[in-house]
Symmetry: C2
Subunit: 192 residues, 2 copies
DNA sequence: TCCACGTGAGACATAAATGTCTCGCGTGGT
DNA sequence: ACCACGCGAGACATTTATGTCTCACGTGGA
């Protein structure tokens, strides 16, 4: 496990540590700092030098998750084109972030204080706007609120990530299963 | 806060304690035994007398959740009638258990050991059978696997419980939002 | 009235994770 | 070759949750 040159000499790559932490905590949310350090291939003291404590680590993961999710929204250009097509682009773009995202949404500690990250509100606003746009375009039904569709998307992303990690769904089917269920539902439609 | 007579003298109602614990842990999964005891209105020592430790408490909650979920499957008679109608009966029947269920599914500790409760397998089998039956009846599409539909149902139940607890969805809309999305999806169908 | 029993409160010990510190080492730059 | 810097390992103190115990109290039954 080689490390990337950071500044002038060999040092820990912060992002790489965060990715390892995300991978571990997605599977075991109660993992200790020691386990996180070992999973990242660094010493516990070093982990502490970079993140003042467990809380700081979770906050950093939150920031990373928000940034990568926003990057996925950008990559999927969700503000462009028909809303249903935007959703079809969005879900696969979110797949790499899905485990981290499902960890963060269950970390309710992040949402109860008064200093909650405004990134969630930004994400929610864009997703809600997407679903509302779909309704205005006549593509989405209006009896399901945009807020609920947004929440359901999070839930399905989490379920999908879990099902893939558990081997009940193939990674290649992740996007299809989520997109088709979210857009078309389970009922067999007559026009198909 | 009166207690129910249990046996010969006034004592703690185990089920009532479990319900209080479920209500608290659904909102704050990392609540301590002391917080659980206070939420149940009993002393910490008494909580310990009834449940040997935190693990035993979680196991008891697991058992309760499984039993109530199975009771919901019974009440909804999911093996009878058309599959889509069975789903429409099932979701509202699951609503009271939804918070507890969403807590349990995120408690991954329950699923990694070798002594996992066989109740989950029973539940999965019945739900998978329900979705498979729907496919065989021609009511459900066959490109979404029953296992995925089962997983998605869990996810939507969890999202719904969370959205209701957070005030983003009215409790009265819980069943409708979940059922309609699961069965019909977000897309506006031409026949409606 | 008296007794038995479960409870609440609190003291106490234990376990485990956290946070801090020191020190030796090796890399990479000078 | 030398030096500066960050890292790993480990010791240590602290904090927090857990688990156990004792004891006084009050209810409910005899």
């Amino acid at each position: 496990m080689s490390r990337v040159v950071y500044g002038r000499l060999m040092s820990v790559d912060r992002t790489q540590v965060l990715r390892a932490a995300a991978a571990l905590l997605s599977r075991k949310a109660t993992a200790t700092m020691d386990e996180v350090a070992r999973a990242a291939g660094i010493g516990r003291a070093t982990l502490h030098r970079h993140f003042a404590g467990r809380d700081a680590l979770v906050r950093a993961l939150e920031q990373l998750g928000i940034e990568e999710t926003e990057a996925a929204l950008e990559a999927a250009r969700i503000e462009e084109g028909p809303a249903d097509e935007a959703v079809r682009r969005l879900v696969p773009a979110l797949q790499p972030v899905a485990p981290l995202l499902s960890f963060l949404v269950t970390e309710n500690q992040l949402f109860e204080g008064d200093g909650q990250n405004e990134g969630w509100a930004r994400l929610d606003a864009r997703l809600v706007a997407l679903f509302r746009r779909g309704q205005e375009e006549g593509a989405f039904r209006i009896d399901l609120t945009p807020a609920w569709l947004c929440e359901a998307l999070y839930g399905l992303i989490g379920s999908g990530a879990w099902a893939v990690a558990d081997g009940r769904v193939a990674a290649n089917d992740f996007s299809y299963m989520i997109t088709e269920l979210l857009l078309g539902g389970a009922r067999r439609s007559v026009e198909k």
